[in-house]
Amino acid sequence: MSFKRFDAEDLVIASEAVSAPVWSTGEPILTTFFTSSVQPNLESGKFYYDVYQTGSTLDISAVQFSIAYADLDGSGSAPYNSAVAGKAPSSTIYGQYRSLILGDEESSFSFGGVTQEYFYALAIDRDRFKESLLPASFNLTLKNTSNRALYLTDNSANGTPVVFNDAGRVYQVVSGSNGVAYTGVNANGYTTASGSYGLFLPDVGIILLNGAALDITGTAEGIALGTTRGNTAAANPAKLYQVITSGSAFQLSYKETVTSQFVFARVRNSEYNYSTNPSYITGTGDLKISSMLDTPQTYITSVGMYNDNNELLAVAKLSRPLLKDFTKEALIRIKLDF
């Protein structure tokens, strides 16, 4: 008398793609960047720098992405043991991304067909990118101390077939904007001799930037980043952080598939016209309002969804009471997101 079984067509599963800016600010473009004064000096600072949208000590601060430097030879960071050459945090980072992205310890990173030994990795915080990054939403401005600017994007809107590797979809990072390469320097948006500017890996939330391309000096192709390679700690992530801060524009969005269950509660005119509400009946069950004897009325405020054991699994509240009597039927659509 109180429970009504759903018919098969009353329960519908639907998936919907949702996209939104990655950043905690909710804005499409992150314009200010902060690092902690503590984290770079900790053990983790040898491997990566965390970047926040506000001062890291503020309550609202949250890591937006991390910058790591990777080098096949372990250059750019001090070795773990001076007697063991080539084993340093930067080589650990290189191996980490090689395992994750290439899936083969014998492979080397190739940017636009040119093999390179070192790169920078921007790892977007998991809470920010949700499920995957949205191709063609990536726009990053890098600017050096000479005010030379480089505008980077992925080449997803160029119409070339999507390439896949162990990390899912792979797009080249090129000079341009909104997924389209700028062809004023080179037709494909790459550098002339150092390949593309990196790899955009939307399914793992990672952007690799080709260090050799950023280091190019004397032409419009690079920004003379000045990556230091040697057996000493060089704080290369700080150099990339500096040009990102000066560029003051990092645009990125995520794409997420939200699976929802739609539940349709159908109430016929003859159903649910009496209430067990204590203000509706007396302690012995008599109706308190005499007019309800002829024209019983109730007000629906909640829909409870139960399993076969009558356990309340989910509940839906209406924003205002819905009048129900023997002359009215109701159809209530409820959306449950998972």
Binding site: F3, Y274, G285, L287, D308, L313, A316
Partner: protein
């Protein structure tokens, strides 16, 4: 807990604590198969049959009220269910049972509710039995429904959740409850308190009674 914007009709849906627990259990028990409606928050004394503008306005004070968002505690929502009864019904089913349960630590009691005004009978035991829900399952070492031997009733009797104060629901024509002997739950208190909600599975009649466990072990 905030109010819902009632300038438009919307539906705010959430999983209950029990729903999240069963979803995490992953054994298929999170499967929505039926629904019920309730009129929680409605005070029918606001229904004004003397309204000068006539019967169309009797419910004016109720229809204008803003409603609160849903609570995740399944024992605090869907309290007053709407029921389907023939037109002209003058008396609704109500449950007759103890008005309170007071147990000492380790003490047992059997609770057998009856339904009044149901199917023309003065006092009836419902065929499908009753749903017994204790709000804090930790206070009972035994909480078992008896008299209904369906698969679902047996499964509920054997299901346990460790650690937290989630509710527990069993099905039966009567309930066997034994209070906890664990001193730790009491802390520095001499009593534990929770509620027992009984719902007629056929009639939808409901009653909630307070449960008090008195400490005896020191």
């Amino acid at each position: 807990m905030g109010y819902l914007n009632n300038s438009v009709v919307t539906v705010d849906a959430i999983l209950t604590k029990k729903g999240r627990e069963l979803l995490a259990r992953g054994d298929g028990s999170f499967r929505i198969t039926q629904f019920a409606l309730s009129d929680d928050e409605i005070d029918y004394t606001l229904y004004n049959t003397s309204h000068p503008s006539g019967s169309a306005y009797y419910g004016e004070a109720i229809e204008a009220m803003p409603l609160l968002e849903a609570f995740p505690d399944e024992t605090q929502i869907m309290k007053y269910k709407l029921t389907t009864l023939p037109r002209g019904t003058a008396r609704l089913p109500v449950l007759a049972t103890k008005s309170t349960v007071v147990l000492k630590q380790g003490q047992s009691e059997a609770i057998t509710p009856q339904t009044l005004n149901y199917l023309g009978g003065n006092q009836t035991f419902e065929t499908s039995g009753y749903t017994f829900t204790i709000a804090d399952a930790r206070v009972a070492s035994i909480f078992q429904g008896v008299g209904i031997n369906t698969e679902e009733a047996n499964r509920l009797n054997t299901t346990t959740t460790l650690g937290t104060n989630v509710s527990k629901t069993v099905i039966g024509t009567s309930l066997n409850i034994t209070s906890t002997t664990v001193n730790t739950l009491f802390g520095t208190n001499t009593q534990l308190q929770t509620t027992l909600t009984i719902i007629g599975r056929d009639s939808g009649a409901r009653v909630t009674i307070p449960v008090t466990i008195t400490r005896v072990n020191q």
